[in-house]
């Protein structure tokens, strides 16, 4: 059957199981958009290409499927770059399709031409410029395969306009053969046995868990392993929802804004078991004193992550589900030794318990002004921790990680690696498209919200009942906090001097706006918002100069925390 390039694209997407794409049309993708009429694929029109890719990212993060976005050439394509880099840093499986000028014009500085393969080379797992219609189906097949396998990541396909209209016989390949790409899934059994031995010999072990656990779908086996061995679990920002935070073994987040007891545990432990985490500088603080008393086991599917920032004693390359499964199986066969381990580590857990009691994750409450942490606690309570939470980047993001008690995997979608303001609203949009019946809440600040606030239009158009919480302090709060602590309160360009009437803004788009500055109204407003159909924006005027604590100042060791007094 002869099909045009754009028909081949849409047909291939369907064969990859794609039912929803996010995008924005333009001259170089007009044929694809025309053929959408004949396709079963559901297209969500965002109001900005960056938001389309963030939405596909949010969709991917909460479903585990490959997110797909389409943008036109030139400015449409360059608008996607921040969002692609966001997905790349957090290893999110995505395929981004950008239009390109016709092949004879490539390199001529044609209208709306940008070298997208060149621009996205450092922020994609791989990318393609399709110059021959015969390569198109194979390229799409490879792109999806690369995006979802190994350490996942975004793959970009740049598709020139003339290829979209050229016809060719369509057959979708069954198999992918890439000589240079064979991820290691199965962990080396000898290394795993060594790990088991190290665990059984440990007296102060800690599991340090990162976003890889969710990507691998290994949340369950992690819980089983932790419960079997009674090893405490600290999670990175990317893994807050991967381990039930109410669990007695949960230490919460570690690192720059981690809990006192998580950071102390890592500092004092004698065995650090890093799984699907990459020793990011926001986690480690001063690297040479991070877990300096510990032997380190590092399990990751990406060999480049291992030994990059810290030297490890035992590297294990493999899929976490496989490795942790084997590790659990191995230890499960030695109940007496595990029993001994639990007994020998009793003292360690009570030491952590003392740290927890001495310095719990807390804040000074107030009856006169709304504390941002209080709003997060109330959201946690009212939603019964069942919602999908997205965030932007800044203070609100850290408070969400600290004070929302996550308990289901894939319910916390946040830009960890790149730290992209403007991520949360479109990501919530994508999550709500994936799960129309679930509660999706974007926790935001007044700064971040305005980076993609145009997506209110998309929410209203598609009747997506996303609830938006703005913790409004009229500041770029996180930068202001640094200026307060390290720059003598010189609040250079962090005061948002023009107060926005967010209610009017919401209403202008046809959404509902609610607002309060009274502590006693917070809970009622959250409840009212959740009961109101359609998108609702909640504007909470919060205590202006609240700081995120604990905090490890940049360059300090993680036990050198500034604590909440």
């Amino acid at each position: 059957m002869e099909l045009t390039g754009s028909q081949i694209l849409l047909k291939s997407l369907t064969l990859e199981g794609v039912d929803t794409v996010f995008g924005y049309p333009g001259g170089a993708v007009i044929n694809i958009y025309d053929d959408l009429y004949e396709s079963s694929i559901n297209h969500i029109l965002t109001r900005h290409e960056q938001a389309a890719v963030h939405a596909a990212d949010g969709y991917a993060r909460c479903t585990g499927k490959v997110g797909v976005a389409i943008a036109t050439s030139g400015p449409g394509a360059t608008n996607t770059v921040t969002a692609i880099a966001t997905a790349y840093m957090d290893s999110i499986p995505m395929v981004i399709i950008t239009g390109q000028v016709p092949t004879p014009l490539i390199g001529n500085d044609a209208f709306q031409e940008a070298d997208m393969c060149g621009i996205t080379r450092p922020c994609t797992k791989h990318n393609y410029l399709v110059k021959d219609i015969r390569d198109l189906a194979k390229t799409i097949k490879e792109a999806f395969y690369i995006a979802r396998t190994g350490r996942p990541g975004p793959v970009l396909i740049d598709l020139p306009k003339d290829i979209q209209v050229t016809t060719y016989k369509f057959s979708y390949p069954d198999k992918v053969s890439l000589r240079g790409y064979k991820p290691t899934y199965s962990g080396n059994i000898r290394q795993i046995e060594k790990a088991a031995k190290m665990i059984l010999a440990a007296r102060k072990p800690v599991l340090y868990v990162g976003g890889g656990i969710t990507l691998s779908g290994a949340d369950d086996v992690l819980l089983k392993l932790a419960e079997l061995t009674q090893i405490p679990v600290t999670t990175t920002l990317m893994a807050m929802a991967a381990f039930p935070q109410r669990h007695p073994l949960a230490l919460g987040m570690l690192g720059m804004h981690g809990t006192f007891f998580a950071n102390m545990s890592v500092t004092e432990c004698d065995l650090l078991i890093a799984v699907g985490s990459r020793f990011d500088d926001r986690v480690t603080g001063r690297i040479d004193s991070f877990a300096e008393k510990a032997k380190i086991i590092h399990v990751d599917i990406d060999p480049t992550s291992i030994g990059k920032n810290v030297e490890v004693d035992l590297p294990i390359v493999g899929d976490l589900k496989d490795v942790l499964g084997k590790l659990h199986g191995h230890l499960n066969k030695k109940p007496e030794l595990v029993e001994d381990l639990i007994e020998e580590t009793e003292e360690w857990r009570s030491m952590i318990g003392e740290w927890r009691e001495r310095q719990p994750m807390t804040y000074r409450s107030s009856k006169s002004v709304i504390k941002p942490q209080y709003v997060i606690e109330k959201i946690s309570e009212v939603t019964n921790e069942d919602a999908i939470i997205t965030t932007e980047v800044g203070q609100h993001q850290m408070w969400a990680a600290q004070f929302y008690t996550f308990r289901h995997p894939k319910t916390f979608l946040t830009s960890g690696g790149l730290g992209t303001m403007g991520f949360g609203l479109p990501a919530a949009l994508g999550a709500q498209v994936a799960y129309p019946d679930r509660q999706v809440i974007d926790i935001s600040g007044d700064g971040s919200f305005q980076m993609n606030s145009q997506e209110l239009a998309t929410l209203v158009q598609y009747k997506l009942p996303v609830k938006i919480v703005i913790l409004n302090n009229n500041y770029l709060g996180m930068v202001r906090q640094w200026q307060q602590m390290f720059f003598e309160k010189r609040y250079s360009q962090t005061v948002m001097e023009l107060p926005i009437d967010f209610i009017k803004l919401a209403e202008a788009y046809g959404a509902t706006g609610l607002q309060t500055k009274k502590v006693e109204d917070v809970e009622a407003i959250i409840k009212q918002a959740l009961e109101t159909p359609g998108p609702v924006l909640m504007n909470f005027i919060v205590s202006r100069e609240e700081n995120v604590l604990p905090m490890v100042p940049a360059g300090k060791a993680i036990h050198e925390m500034v604590l909440a007094s």
């Binding site: 410029l129 690369i146 060999p303 030994g307 030297e311």
Partner: protein, 163 residues
């Protein structure tokens, strides 16, 4: 420490910029780089010379391996290998220096491949140190131009790196 690494890659659009972009993006240095297709026209072999401590070299080889277009990475520094570089050297000559130039060419088993009344163009192959040696001796005559290929390497023994 200096390392000479062979990288077998897909012979396709953009692969050179993937490799060079990896080095510049991650702050690794490249001292020299040579690329050509292999017996299998779908593959290219790159030989690159870089410097760094063990930790950096581990990252370089891992990051190279991580590229989808990379098929094989061999760091030759750890084993026995033969290294050769080609240089073309244009040197000024006059009646006085011609004989001396030819003697130097002879000693280094180089070849004169082009002659004008005012110059010799010399071709020499060898380990980079040998090329440095001849350049040192020719320098007093006046070197007009030098083109070096950068080294290529192959392992000693019967075993080959396929491609």
């Amino acid at each position: 420490m200096k390392h000479t690494i062979s990288v077998l890659v897909e012979n396709e659009f953009g692969v050179l910029s993937r490799i060079s972009g990896l080095f510049s993006g991650r702050g690794f240095n490249i001292e020299s780089l040579s690329v050509a297709p292999t017996m299998d026209p779908e593959l290219s072999r790159m030989t690159l010379v870089t410097r760094g401590d063990d930790k950096i070299l581990e990252q370089i080889t891992k990051q190279l391996n991580k590229l989808i277009s990379t098929i094989k990475v061999v760091d030759f520094t750890d084993g026995e290998y033969i290294e050769r570089e080609l240089a073309l050297i244009k040197v000024s000559t006059d009646a006085e220096s011609r004989a001396e130039a030819l003697r130097i060419v002879d000693i280094f088993r180089a070849k004169v491949i082009d002659v004008t009344p005012k110059s010799y163009t010399i071709e020499i192959t060898g380990a980079p140190a040998k090329i440095n040696g001849i350049l040192e001796l020719l320098r007093p005559m006046g070197i007009k131009e030098v083109v070096r290929s950068g080294p290529v390497v192959i392992g000693r023994g019967a075993k080959g790196v396929v491609g």
